[in-house]
């Protein structure tokens, strides 16, 4: 078939118009799919890059050694312990606070300027760069309140950072609960808190869990705010153990301990010029990557399950 532009004067037949339409639609669909494929290739090559560079470095010694001046002897023991403890604090703070705030906004808040202010505020907080939270923590917790560069401060900072994620997830989960559940509880004589705690919260739990996992995976990979509070990068010791063999068997001294976390350890190593440290960085990054990918996969799977059960 000759190019159509060669016969400008001839009116196109319907069949030709349809054929052309199909062609342009198909071309665009191919374009869309190729953008998608390219971005998947990027993600895949990132994962493969980390595997090639770092997989060979991961062994038991790497997980059970402290960082060292010699790249081959260095490990991430203090980093993964620090990450675990910081995440403990972050989760313990962000989930209850975020869920409570989400419930308030969705179930209690009257339509007034205070509510409007809180809503705009949450939207805005979600868009504040993470490093700004670091400056808040540096100016407020580390300097003004003299709390030091501790696990507690890092945990609080990351909790504030992921609070909007959990608030938004809670609101969406609560909003999707059918009216009949709410009316059913009220009709039995429940008051507001009984309805919210006994019927709304349990129904919204999978959705909230999804948001909490997404929030935690974000917090686990966050680096900038922790650097900003001035967390040391060379930590060759562990915080005091949260459990002890004397009464009362748990202690909270670890909250006030200096620490490092996995992304900080990785950043530290990637910033060194020696290639041997880059291997350590890749190994740390691979573990971090697999953890966050796994958490996101769980969240996606949960969301998929919720959507199916809603039908």
């Amino acid at each position: 078939m000759k190019p159509l532009a060669a016969q400008p004067s001839r009116r196109l037949s319907d069949a030709e118009i349809v054929a052309r339409a199909h062609r342009s639609d198909r071309n665009f669909a191919i374009l869309g799919l190729s953008v998608l494929v390219i971005s998947m290739i990027v993600l895949l090559s990132l994962i493969v890059d980390f595997m090639v560079d770092g997989l060979g470095r991961i062994d038991l010694d790497f997980l059970t050694s402290f960082p060292s001046r010699r790249a081959s002897e260095a490990g991430i023991l203090s980093a993964w312990v620090g990450t675990t403890l910081v995440m403990l604090v972050t989760t313990a703070l962000a989930v209850p606070l975020g869920v409570a705030a989400g419930l308030y906004l969705e179930e209690y808040a009257p339509r007034n300027w205070i509510t409007h202010l809180i809503e705009i505020n949450v939207t805005n907080l979600a868009g504040v760069p993470s490093i700004i939270y670091g400056l808040l923590a540096l100016g407020l917790f580390v300097q003004s309140l003299a709390m030091g560069q501790t696990i507690l401060v890092a945990g609080i900072t990351l909790a504030l950072l992921i609070l909007p994620i959990i608030i938004v997830a809670t609101r969406e989960a609560v909003r999707s609960i059918p009216l009949e559940i709410r009316e059913g509880a009220y009709a039995l004589g429940a008051d507001k808190w009984q309805t919210v705690s006994g019927y709304i919260l349990p129904t919204a739990r999978p959705g909230i869990l999804t948001g909490a996992i997404v929030g935690m995976s974000r917090a686990i990979g966050e680096t900038a705010p922790i650097i900003t509070i001035g967390a040391l990068t060379f930590i060759a010791f562990l915080p005091p153990s949260p459990v002890q063999d004397t009464f009362p068997f748990i202690n909270f001294n670890w909250l006030n301990s200096p620490f490092t976390v996995m992304p900080i350890q990785m950043f530290n190593w990637v910033s060194r010029p020696q290639a041997a440290f880059h291997v350590n960085a890749a190994a740390t990054g691979l573990i971090l990557l697999l953890m966050t990918l796994l958490m996101n996969a769980i969240a996606i799977w949960l969301r998929y399950k919720i959507r199916r059960s809603m039908r």
């Binding site: 059918p178 009949e180 559940i181 709410r182 009316e183 059913g184 509880a185 009220y186 009709a187 039995l188 004589g189 429940a190 008051d191 009984q194 006994g198 019927y199 349990p202 129904t203």
Partner: protein
């Protein structure tokens, strides 16, 4: 017109029904609606409604859609208070103490603790069968295991569901069929022993067999419970109700013994409706 099994005292409430309300005779009433107006914002949905609710009987509210029958039903347990901008004017007196449950100073939850409701669509909670029936008891602070167990079983038996679910009490209520779910909701409503039960078109989402079971169930509950049911199905109202009220455009047009309403209505509008000329 004499109803078999009615005492003289009850008779006063029945024939002629509206006179009994007006005369404030101590009739065996569970509740009575007096000059009730209801507003959704500026929109008046109920206009001076009068209605006696006789103890131990089934009262049906019928009328074309939009006539206000569901709105009236939801006044009894103050469901309208869940949404802003709604306003009651007038009285719904709950006997024996004679409190006006739509008075602004009365806590809506107080009305809901005494008056149960079954909705149009089965709305079990996403919990186990047992938890669903125990909900009303838990909400009232009743947590004693053996007492809750006993009342759950009793309520499920009353709702004619016990035999079907006794082996799956801990399974999710969502695994039940639609008709079973609705009977579960009835059991849930019965468990805390309400003084009045409101049913809002309880069979409209069910198939004919499930509907028949629910109707049978209501027949068994008659006497032990006082029931108000909204239905768009006139055959159903004729089959199950002792008294029937016909509403139109927010007005209570006619109230009488069910058999009279369906055989010999006084009002022309009632006649048109039950003969299928509108609605």
């Amino acid at each position: 017109m004499l109803q078999p099994g009615l005492s003289e005292n009850e008779m006063t409430a029945v024939t002629p029904a509206l006179d009994a309300v007006a005369s404030k005779e101590p009739a065996p009433l569970r509740a009575s609606v007096r000059n009730l107006n209801f507003f959704y914002g500026d929109n008046q949905a109920l206009k001076g409604v009068e209605l006696p609710i006789v103890e131990g009987k089934v009262t049906a509210l019928i009328g074309p859609s939009g006539c206000g029958k569901s709105t009236l039903l939801r006044c009894f347990n103050r469901m309208h208070d869940l949404y802003p901008g709604n306003r009651y004017q007038g009285e719904i007196i709950l006997y024996p103490e004679g409190i006006n449950i739509v008075a602004p100073e009365v806590d809506p939850m107080l009305a809901r603790l005494r008056i149960g409701m079954v909705f149009q669509k089965p709305n079990p909670f996403p919990k186990s069968v047992y938890e669903n029936v125990a909900s009303g008891l838990h909400i009232r602070g009743i947590r004693n295991r053996s007492e809750v167990d006993g009342r759950v079983e009793a309520a499920l038996r009353q709702a004619a569901l016990w035999d079907e679910v006794k082996d799956r009490l801990q399974e999710s209520a969502y695994g039940l069929s639609g008709g079973q779910q609705q009977r579960l909701c009835i059991a849930r409503t019965l468990a805390p022993d309400p003084e009045l039960i409101l049913l809002d078109e309880p069979t409209s989402a069910l198939d004919p067999i499930a509907t028949a079971k629910i109707e049978e169930l209501m027949d068994e509950l008659r006497g032990a419970y006082t029931i108000v049911i909204v239905t768009h199905n006139m055959q159903q109202a004729a089959r199950i109700s002792d008294f029937t009220a016909f509403m139109h455009l927010g007005h209570m047009v006619e109230y009488d013994v069910a058999s009279l309403i369906f055989t010999n209505p006084t009002e022309e509008r009632t006649r048109s409706y039950i003969t299928g000329r509108f609605g």
